[in-house]
Subunit: 349 residues, 2 copies
């Protein structure tokens, strides 16, 4: 059977091809009756307009590529949900590109980002959003940086919560340093003086910003940052446990810990409990990110929200405007928010 084309639909409906196209793309108003007639024919013949052929003509695919590091990291679903919600309202669809391998080798991850950039260009997406990975490196190589900058000359590229030094790429990001300041100041305001920092990676710019925000706030309040209490141990719950055990083995414990993310705080909470300590009575903990589990845990975690859902929505809106060649500001900064729950209290002593 010969497939039904847009010409067949137009002929049978007694209208022009342009009118059928208007109904298909919802691109301009069409009289109610005509629209219904065309829709009935589309239904009757199970007509599928050929998006590939159409996009070759229109030079637009209605698709956006999102390159992000790891779908199993609970930080990302809220961000992606925001992106998705806004994409839907604007008629875009996603290529979601997860770059972490089960092996978890960092070099692999950046290599995979390169592959996906190439694939997305090949698929002629209308725009690319990058989250995590190389754009969170404190010192990305020139090669990694140049690749993205070159891509951005050919298609709109937006970076979320990261940057590539020396480039003028469009960015939207939560102010992580301010988030760390809010968390640290909250502990100081409760009366804590002996405060530790746990988690993160020195090679990641967002970890560095969190450490800087912590350090700056301690110093502004005339408090010492002890090097042995700055434990840059990674981002997993297990590394939170390890950080607690390191602190515990030193003999003297801090009265509070600012944790670089919520998983660190959860791991630390579990280890503290096993060691017979109560949170927050014996040890206050602040997390970071406000993942869903932060409000499930007992006690519920005090944490810093990077407002990822809003960031996701705003990011998609920005990219949409970039695709439409509107003028947008190069940098959009989102203010984080301190969320006080149950894991922080004044110190005992």
């Amino acid at each position: 059977m010969k497939p039904v084309t847009i010409y067949d639909i137009a002929k049978e409906a007694g209208v022009s091809v342009a009118t059928v196209s208007r109904v298909l793309n919802n691109s301009a108003p069409v009289k109610h009756e005509t629209r219904d007639k065309i829709k009935d024919l589309i239904q009757k013949y199970q007509f599928q307009p050929n998006a590939l052929a159409r996009s070759l003509l229109k030079k637009e695919t209605g698709t956006i590529g999102i390159i992000f590091p790891d779908i199993t990291n609970p930080f990302f679903p809220m961000l992606l949900a925001g992106l998705e919600e806004e994409a839907r309202s604007k008629g875009y669809h996603f290529f979601l590109c997860d770059t972490v391998s089960t092996m978890g080798q960092m070099e692999d991850q950046y290599e995979r980002e390169s592959q996906y950039i190439s694939i997305l260009m090949e698929k002629q997406v209308d725009g690319i959003i990058m989250v995590g990975g190389r754009i969170n490196l404190a010192r990305p190589s020139k090669e990694l940086t140049t690749e993205v900058a070159e891509t951005a000359k050919r298609v709109p590229v937006l970076l979320i919560n990261g940057q590539l030094p020396g480039t003028d790429l469009n960015r939207i990001y939560a102010d992580e340093r301010l988030g760390a300041e809010l968390a640290t100041q909250h502990l100081i305001d409760l009366g804590h003086r002996r405060i530790a920092f746990a988690g993160g990676y020195r090679f990641m710019s967002n970890s560095v910003q969190r450490i800087q925000g912590f350090r700056k706030t301690m110093e502004r309040n005339g408090l010492a940052v002890r090097p042995e209490w700055t434990l840059v141990t990674g981002y997993s719950a297990d590394s939170g446990k390890e950080a607690f055990e390191t602190l515990h083995s030193m003999g003297e414990l801090p009265t509070a810990v600012f944790c670089a993310n919520d998983q660190i705080a959860i791991g630390m909470l579990k280890a503290a409990r096993k060691a017979g300590l109560k949170v927050p009575e014996d040890l206050s903990l602040v997390g970071f990110d406000d993942i869903p589990y932060a409000s499930y845990s007992i006690p519920e975690l005090t944490t810093v929200s990077l407002r990822s859902y809003e960031v996701g929505r705003s990011a998609l809106d920005l990219l949409h405007r970039m695709i439409g060649k509107e003028k947008v500001s190069k940098r959009t900064v989102v203010k984080p928010e301190l969320i006080v729950r149950e894991s922080t209290a004044p110190p005992r002593c």
Copy 2:
């Protein structure tokens, strides 16, 4: 500047277009030296083969559509990670289609599934995977069922952890009834006799299977299923709290609760703690799904793993073979696994 084509690359490399195509598609071995020469030219000219044009010729797009209900539900990331890992190894890319709106209206969700099915057909994906949504309805309408059955005549369709009654669609699923039996039997083996069930929706087939597995195991052990202790309250942590409060208000509490998912167990754990009860000493709790939080909570949750990562990998492999027109079995069943952690213990009395 005229764009560089595959012909230009072939000419300059002194090879045939077919050889360049082989390197681009990795579709057949090419001598090492020749491959390097071609890759250098691709690099030199920043050559982007036109995937859209190519796929019009090849009638294959290398893309798969995944229709799933909600990226913020912690059940899905592990499944998607398994799908993604296997897709990567086989050279596919994803259209990830999230169908839940922020409004959470069920009718909206099924409507959106229909939209995505249409979009994916239009994008000429090589195959479609469906998870959740209409395929988890205990009684889907004929219309919802027919739409998928019709789609499956035109493109390979695979259902994960669900079904559409009256159709012969390819399926891979964890045996949820068996999972519920394992959980219930574990509680009975510990000595529990007064066991409640909490969570789920009666209109969802996977909830119904969990209830049936619970009921069957209770009856097989000569134990009564009390109607007032079968609380079909939904799947959120909040509904777990509500379920506990309902049980608590009845005066007599069960010694154990089989929760229809881990969030229910987490909500129940929090509510039990607030009411002054200890888990597992005063109340044993078993969850379902083994989401990452299950091992973060204090105490860690005993739960049932549906082995979603493996299910995801196997699903992609199955779909790949369906796309390749291999003969595959219509049903693949994955055995769930009981994971005993800290939230279950023998009853006090």
